[in-house]
Symmetry: C2
Subunit: 83 residues, 2 copies
């Protein structure tokens, strides 16, 4: 067996659009007083970077991991990209 | 003047590599007991989605916003992409 190749996976976890995001709203309201205008909406989520052994089943493992541990599927949705 | 075009900007804010990330370490330690093996490192940060009026100075505004409000430049670094 050759050396194991390691993939870097970037996972974004955001509240679903229909769920209120108070943290995003707080930022949205703070921006004008700091001189930033023209901001329509701010939403805040998590960005998770995972270094993981690469293999054929990488997508399956990442999706299971996000679904079971990283995101709460009731109120959050996730997306990811492999670097 | 035509209608204002709105850009969607995705900003990632992560702890600098040399700063300890206890939340990432907690996830890292939880994964094997959930059956996920082969994970080398996990780091957790913020993913911020900003809908903002587009203009020539978009980059300057996004960088100033991230630097002054969204990230703590002492311990965090940010990157962004415009959709």
């Amino acid at each position: 067996m050759g050396p194991v190749s390691v993939a870097r996976v970037h996972i974004d976890v955001m509240l679903k659009d229909e769920i209120l995001d108070p943290q995003g709203q707080a930022i949205e309201r703070a921006l004008p007083s700091l001189g930033f205008t023209g901001v329509r909406e701010v939403r805040v989520g998590k960005h998770i970077v995972v270094d993981i052994d690469d293999a054929d089943d990488l997508d399956r493992r990442v999706e299971a991991m996000a679904d079971r541990l990283l995101a709460n599927p009731v109120i959050e949705r996730f997306s990811y990209r492999v670097e």
